[in-house]
Amino acid sequence: MDERWSWYRQMVRIRRFEERCVELYSATKIRGFLHLYIGEEAVAAGVMSRLRPDDAVVATYRDHGHAIAKGVSMRAVMAEMFGKVDGCSRGRGGSMHLFDVAHGLYGGNAIVGGGLPIAAGLAWADRRLGRDRVTACFFGEGAVAEGEFHETLNLASLWKLPVLFCCENNLYAMGTEIAHEQADLDLTVKASGYALPAWSVDGMDVEAVAAATERALASIRAGGGPVFLELKTFRFRAHSMYDPDRYRTSAEIEHWKERDPLLVLEERLRADAAAGDDVDARFAEVAAEVDAEVDDAVAFADAAELEPVEELTRWVHADDSSVPRQEVVR
């Protein structure tokens, strides 16, 4: 199963990248809010493995995993978090706003629920322009309580838009557990109220995620309209680097760590191994390769330039707008 190795590599890339981010945050190379995806890697890796390169993705502030799995280079992501002009958003967005349209990444949105209408709109444009493309929209279970969730699922279903709604249910919205957030804990019941297919998936199992995505995409591409996936997962780290994580017990976290998506996959890879295969050596090889990639990204970000301050007022309006650019000097 070669694909297992490719998923594994992808997930290790996200994990190691973020572990490095933690260090770099402490070293104040990265600032602002930093939301880690550690523990949830199987979701991005699984979904993206079934999207086509030109399919679109709308993500949230917790978007490193999506960017990396969608093909954005680690260099561009790391430089972004360093606030450098070579970052994927020229250092203007930071961790929460990774954009790379060339790779189909229509940004991390930091307003909870704010990306959902955007995803519906992208999909609507695709249909009108006859582009055979699906937009995958990621959001947390906390976002399900927002009005935008409701309005967008209804609209997308009514208009049969090619959107894959990916709800990353990690059981907490910052410090609020899902039981304080949702009247009905089964999110697929709610999603079904919009007359669309809604399935619950083990988000710690990359293969289950990929399989569900494949089924959903087939239905969407066949014109069946949007599909809702609830991806049951857990974040191993605090909500953001600011969060002391007072609201969860270590027992709960440890319990979920037993289902670490990397462990789950490592076990399968071990089981796959033919007698004599040195799986551990391959794990170490992947780790070394990924570490080299992360090192390279950090070196690149470190060496990259800052955007000149004169450029600050560029792209408030398009370059070809008649609106005059402001001078930066006040």
Binding site: F99, G121, L122, A125
Partner: protein
């Protein structure tokens, strides 16, 4: 020349936009089967079909957000919000997404969406249907905000807005919809960059936009009878302000009255007044006066509504005080 109305001029602008470019779609609540809540889009569904003239559910945030996303995706949506009052429900999408994506993405994401809505009072619709929140939009970098006050602008601003690479918000004043007059047969796109001097004068500049332009023109007439020559400037574009035109007028008249239908505190009038003072301070012969709506939720009863809104008599009084 053809006899027409502001409403029909808006409609012809929409018709032309839909006819001229397949990527253009009109969406919003009741733009289709109902014909538009103010009958602006009447007949367009029949002409262009339900794929181009799209009735949306009552979901301001989602359908405005979807229009923003669709513009990002390469089509040219014209999205109608029935009134600016309801637009507060979509404000997050407009401010946090439409106005920021281009800059925040480092120039990658263009959002050429056109957002139309009615604004204004004067029809006894009370406190949840009568307010003038254009100032909120005029505060936001990344947006272009315009307000047609004439038939030409009602007819022509949409085409220019659609050609604009960035989000444009168009404020149509509900009380102007029945306004009738002549329009050139070849009327079409108009620029969005310049304010317009609608009446020349020498003693005082009246600065306004939308329905209150006509209040100012009425006031200027009354002032003329009194020997006061008022110049009337129609802002047309609320963001960015065309300061050169405004300031040139005030540099000539040395006096200004700013008239708008928003509440005085922090309305567009505040910005115009502040900018005039900032730039033409040494030319001014009197402080800039403001005439605005009284700071109350607009009431239903006609005498109270009228008392709340800026009337020509108020403009005349303010202008007289300024030239005194």
């Amino acid at each position: 020349m053809t006899k027409t109305t502001y409403r029909e001029a808006l409609r012809e602008g929409l018709r032309e936009a839909l006819a001229g470019d397949d990527r253009v779609v009109l969406l919003g609540e009741d733009v289709g089967a109902y014909g538009g809540s103010f009958a602006v889009s009447l007949g367009l569904l029949e002409q262009f079909g339900p794929d181009r003239v799209v009735d949306t559910p009552l979901s301001e945030s989602a359908f405005v957000g979807a229009a923003i996303g669709a513009a990002m995706g390469g089509i040219r949506p014209i999205v109608e919000i029935m009134t600016v009052n309801f637009s507060l429900l979509a404000l997050d999408q407009i401010v946090n997404n439409a106005a920021t994506y281009l800059h925040m993405s480092g120039g990658q994401i263009h959002v050429p969406v056109v957002i139309r809505m009615t604004t204004g009072a004067g029809r006894q619709l009370a406190a949840q249907h009568s307010h003038s929140f254009e100032g909120i939009y005029a505060h936001i970098p990344g947006l272009r905000v315009v307000a047609p006050a004439t038939l030409e602008d009602a007819r022509g601003m949409l085409a220019t807005a659609l050609a604009d690479p960035d989000p444009v918000v168009i404020f149509e004043h509900a009380a102007l919809l029945p306004m009738a007059g002549d329009l050139a047969d070849d009327a079409g796109a108009v620029d969005l960059d310049r304010a317009a001097v609608r009446r020349e004068g020498t003693d005082v500049t009246l600065v306004s936009y939308g329905a209150r332009l006509h209040t100012c023109l009425e006031a200027a007439e009354a002032l003329a009878a009194d020997g006061v020559s008022a110049e009337v400037v129609d802002l047309r574009t609320l963001r960015p302000l065309d300061l050169p035109t405004i300031l040139a007028s005030v540099a000539r008249t040395h006096r200004a009255v700013v008239v708008d239908e928003a509440w005085r505190t922090g309305g567009i009038g505040a910005e115009v007044a502040a900018a005039i003072c900032e730039h033409t301070f040494w030319d001014l012969d009197a402080p800039v006066a403001r005439v605005a709506t009284l700071e109350v939720p607009i009431p239903y009863a006609i005498h109270l509504e009228a008392a709340a809104l800026p009337q020509a008599a108020d403009v005349v009084a303010a202008a007289r005080a300024v030239v005194a």
